[in-house]
Subunit: 202 residues, 2 copies
């Protein structure tokens, strides 16, 4: 059984990711992002339930109860954020009528979010993010990794990419094409030599 | 009068920032972050009101109305996220009783958010983020800049830092100390020579 601490960290990370994905879903009419939001929302609900259950069992005194209340309020806030994100995702999945302003927002924004799978023959496989330096090389930041049913939020330089991982990355449209080709195994890191250098402070 | 497009982009950016700041406020008991959330929440409310007003004026046909509804739903979702963030900030400002688990979350998280002012004699002044390469040099990412009453969300390599700017940065505790000293004018970029190199794919 995961600890309250682990649940809380995951609820926080999950709700932040959902907010990001949901805006991307609705503004870029990105159904893949919307699907992820729905999956995450279901999980967030179960986690909120779990944290409530564990808190009620843990409370032994009024002082305990006071501390646990804060914890429950954070879980509630995470769920509220998740719900708002779900509303946006639902809009996308229902096939809404996009307002012309979205196209303008999209053109101005350099921060699309993409989701793609890493194939076995990809150069990314079995390398850490620290070794790959994808941000410098492609201008794309890996914000999360879905591995089977589990998630890695905010992966760091030591996180190793495995075949079958689903990466969620944020960045420009040019970067999207490059990183998807790397994940497909279509191109290697050496092929990036002629691509203009990206600045990391984006 | 700002356009609906500009309001929408700002509401999106603002609600994302509020979510980040609010979690930081409650988990790190960071009152400065909580104060920013409250300020942003007031602004978010006025923007939602503005977008509703402009939409009602703009609707000329049922088709118009359908497209405008989506826009209003996005604004509503942004406000819901903002409200959830405000609930967390309120908790911090009321002086809540922190659950011991927060300390554990804090110790595990490498992603505190800090807010600090840039002083006139700082090396950061009148330099662009692209020139400063703060992420590489300090491990801190500048996520937003408050300049007087206006905000720059997701500044890019061309964004120039001015004296008096309030920077919101995300990163490790070590990085926090370094970047605050740079902003105070206590140290220069050359003083960073002996600091271990940071990997940008954090």
């Amino acid at each position: 059984m995961p600890s309250v601490k682990d649940i809380l960290i995951e609820m926080k990370d999950m709700s932040e990711l959902m907010v990001d994905l949901a805006y991307s879903a609705v503004l870029f009419n990105n159904k893949a992002a919307a699907d992820e939001v729905i999956t995450l929302e279901n999980r967030l609900n179960s986690m909120n339930y779990e944290i409530k259950k564990q808190s009620l069992v843990a409370a032994r005194s009024l002082e305990d109860a006071e501390k646990l209340t804060t914890l429950l309020e954070i879980a509630e806030a995470a769920e509220s954020m998740g719900n708002a994100a779900k509303d946006l995702a639902d809009l996308t999945l229902k096939g809404f009528e996009p307002h012309p302003v979205f196209k303008m927002v999209m053109e101005e924004s350099e921060k699309n979010i993409v989701r793609f799978k890493v194939y076995e023959n990809s150069v990314l496989v079995n390398n850490s993010l620290g070794e790959l330096l994808l941000l410098n090389r492609t201008g794309m930041r890996i914000i999360s990794i879905r591995r089977g049913d589990s998630w890695i939020y905010g992966p760091d330089k030591n996180t190793v990419i495995l075949a079958g991982d689903v990466l969620i990355a944020k960045g420009s449209e040019t970067g999207t094409e490059i990183i998807e080709k790397l994940a497909d195994g279509e191109i290697n890191l050496e092929d990036l030599g002629n691509i203009e250098e990206f600045i990391d402070d984006d």
